[in-house]
Symmetry: D2
Subunit: 177 residues, 4 copies
């Protein structure tokens, strides 16, 4: 299968920032995030950041699995927390900072391998509190472009892959940027 | 059915059929819902129902308010629970039935008057469990079309009014329809 | 008031404050709550209030039911929201005031009749935010003392009746009292 | 300061067997859990397991921290998910198995160092679904017994340390054991 950045922009394994673009205003924030200890420990990566939106990618490996060989819920929660938090941080602007008040995650399907893509979206930004939602999509190993996303239920938006988890989270605004 | 802008003020502009439409396949279900006791007690109304989507409306009155004169969180939760449950019911098809396993609601702004519009959307329908999200919008009294919706944060979708609450909920599939 | 454990266990319908006592410091707050519009609409009642703890009672009637004849989830959410909020209000002291940021409710069993007792408990009170949990118990119609509470799972605390819902909620501190 | 596992384990005083005990019926399950990949990656440890109850311990190190030098919310979520899941697994009995449907975590205070202790408790075990709550306590570095737990709000139970997070979660019963 022939692919070009234009026709199948996301996600290409070879690209260090698959379909991701970091808004120039947030490059320092993204770089800082991607070099933080827990991010390196787990192997996740912030690949897209613009006001109110963030995308992270994690390529699943054996270390992420639990007893039954599936990705542990804590890994899923980490990805969604980070997607939501970064989306809100970028909604506030450069210098914006938030901390998680509470996070609620629904786990929709088990994952054993492949790539996880977490999309975060700002929902509400108040003076003290902010709310975001996050969706976690799964792409099978190999060329993700070859695997059509699973059909979502009627009325649900189509995503870049199979929806495997979704989150709704509340944050405290530490710095409005 | 004869309708006038005065009696069906919501929402003008964006929706050519402002008060919603009930998919013919779900007319019996909507009628049943709208005549159930708690629905009549609170005064809410299911106005739009199609596979994976539902919309309810409540015109706020004094009975819905709490100590501080704002709509009680339980009313908000009722609207969002009903929006999510009906969206999933309709995602399953005629005869589909679900019951709430758990509901998580974020309250984003206090409401004291006007119209509340709850939008439910199916996110995931599995064999045993299903997940939906709901958004609650506020429209001020008078002609809502005159009041532009509050600008949501960057990256957030625009809704029919000001977003005042949002929910993520899990349901048990009682009948697949 | 003379009571014996055998004849009037808890709660007794004849008693305006069944097993409940309102800490004198909070009598005005409880009275205010019990006369607010939505509380009267639904028929619930705050019967116990002391620092960090609150108890509400609702006697189920036909108006509280949904399509399937069971108490609507919104009623359950209202009770638990009120139990959590009052517990935190009283944890802050007389004059304390909170508003719900978000509420998450698990519905454990359907209820069709009888008495619902909501217990709220402060978990954390910070300078801006506070967290509480709530448990909703069901007591069958008739003399509740005749019906032993359903045995909870191993490791779970015994409550005054069958546990039918549980909640964890976040509040914003409006007034520290 | 010199410490040995024998002289200053966790927590002193309240628990005669400070580091927890594994009910003999669950020794195989605990051993399996403690050797699973993600558990080893993060460095957490299941130290106490009996029907309906579980306790895990994590000694914080640099790898668990996020941008601001505090333990990442995903680590907290992992601990609480594991505490809840193991408590339910043990409530079902040897051979019992559950998977997380959804998890909601409240983050109450930032943690930068020391020991985290997650306590899980079964709340409800139904035929298909089960619910648990979890509490995460923090003990400062050094001899935990020397640091009195922070005073919880009125009405809240005292724990083995400062309460830094709390969770309410729903699980699907895979195997009733």
């Amino acid at each position: 299968m022939t692919r070009t950045p234009t026709s199948t922009p996301w996600p290409s394994g070879a690209d260090p920032r698959p379909d991701g673009t970091i808004d120039p205003a947030f490059e320092a924030a993204a770089e800082e995030f991607n070099t933080s200890p827990v991010v390196r420990l787990l192997g996740l990566r912030l690949v897209h950041l613009k006001p109110g939106r963030a995308r992270l990618v994690l390529d699943v490996n054996g270390r992420h699995r639990n007893l039954r060989g599936v990705v542990h819920g804590g890994i899923t929660a980490t990805l969604l927390d980070a997607a939501c938090g970064n989306a809100l941080r970028a909604a506030l602007g450069p210098g914006g900072s938030v901390t998680t008040v509470e996070l609620k995650v629904n786990f929709l399907a088990p994952i054993t391998e492949g790539r996880l893509v977490a999309e975060g979206q700002a929902v509400h930004v108040g003076s003290t509190l902010a709310v975001a939602r996050g969706d976690l999509y799964y792409l099978p190993p190999g060329d993700p472009g070859d695997a059509p996303p699973e059909k979502p239920p009627a009325g649900a938006p189509a995503g870049p892959g199979r929806l495997v988890a979704t989150a709704l989270a509340t944050f405290y605004v530490l710095d409005r940027g």
